[in-house]
Subunit: 213 residues, 2 copies
């Protein structure tokens, strides 16, 4: 959903493509005038999770970045200080949690592309993790954000995996927007929560129930 | 389960109470003779999770410790080095994941006490998080390890919460072992997996189904 100002101009909720050549400072000034909206996609998902948590609608957390700690100082009378550490590759997806007893597991990714979503955005370990969770009947998906055309989709992992696996034979390194339009749920962005993905999770659950009944 | 050696002596799987006054080096030597078993309770749970993952029985992950990063160096031609960071209080439990579509969420704790489990082992934010997850019908519990008497229990969160909430009125700062014996599942420790807690999760699910049918 794009929100129109009274003068008819659209508010860019994430990255405004028109401002991409401007300095970060200018961009910051531009986004803050929209009442602190439009920070970035990940931040909006985190805000949505907070909304879901505070309204007892779901408990979804972003996992902390795994870090390899090498050296820690323990100064007297103050907290331990990590003096040498390295970022480690995460072995799972970024988000998981529970909605109505169901296990949810997902990753959020964005692209500036206008016509397709590049598969290089996904790491093999993320695919493997979702594959494992899907085998345990978890609800696995990706939230895709096309920042230039400002459209958001929820794509179930089973469909993403088809494209992922076909890469070597088909040579296709991205999923066409046309296919995403057909096979994914388009997420209508809102205000509270900003990315109401649980609405579409409900549809997935409904479809599952219909299949098994 | 305690495993007996041919001479009838018991293998201590975690901390051997008899060695507690010895140096860490001695203790290490003692534990490594048991074929690297007996490292600690958390390690054994992690090993069990790996077993479940590799056998496609469940996907349960330990969340990384959240860290507040203050300063990062980017030396040329090498990985980013974190030069100043601090440990942050986790806002959730340590473990979560999926078993057969069900969301699991738990915390593992140990005590040297022989007759009761002190409630101070739990932090308010862990209780709050499990409360939230339980309201979403997640399967929430704690794995309790009595290291001195070498017994492991799976206690459902709903029961833990009763004792937690009663603290202020009853003044009781711990759960008596007798109550735990009555109300929790005693986990028979094994070899692969070492802490087969999913066996008891299956019982919880069975009980749930019977209640709702």
């Amino acid at each position: 959903m794009t929100i129109n100002y009274p003068n008819g101009s659209k508010i860019n909720q994430y990255t405004n493509p028109k401002t991409k050549k401007e300095t970060p400072a200018k961009r910051k000034a531009e986004t803050t005038q929209f009442d602190n909206r439009g920070m970035n996609f990940e931040e909006d998902i985190n805000q949505s999770n907070l909304y879901y948590l505070n309204h007892d609608l779901a408990v979804i957390c972003k996992k902390p970045t795994p870090i390899q700690i090498v050296k820690v100082d323990y100064p007297r009378r103050s907290a331990a200080v990590i003096r040498e550490a390295y970022f480690r590759q995460a072995s799972t997806t970024d988000y998981n949690g529970v909605y109505d007893g169901y296990y949810l597991d997902f990753e959020a990714k964005e692209t500036k592309n206008k016509t397709s979503f590049p598969l290089k955005n996904f790491h093999p370990h993320q695919i493997q993790h979702m594959e494992k969770c899907a085998r345990q009947n978890g609800i696995c998906f990706v939230l895709l954000w096309f920042s230039t055309i400002q459209r958001c989709f929820l794509l179930e992992f089973s469909i993403l995996n088809q494209y992922w696996r076909a890469q070597s034979s088909s040579g296709k390194k991205s999923i066409p927007l046309k296919s995403i339009e057909e096979k994914a749920y388009e997420v209508e962005l809102g205000v509270a929560p900003r990315v109401p993905y649980i609405d579409y999770v409900k549809k997935i659950i409904k479809n599952r129930k219909e299949k098994t009944s």
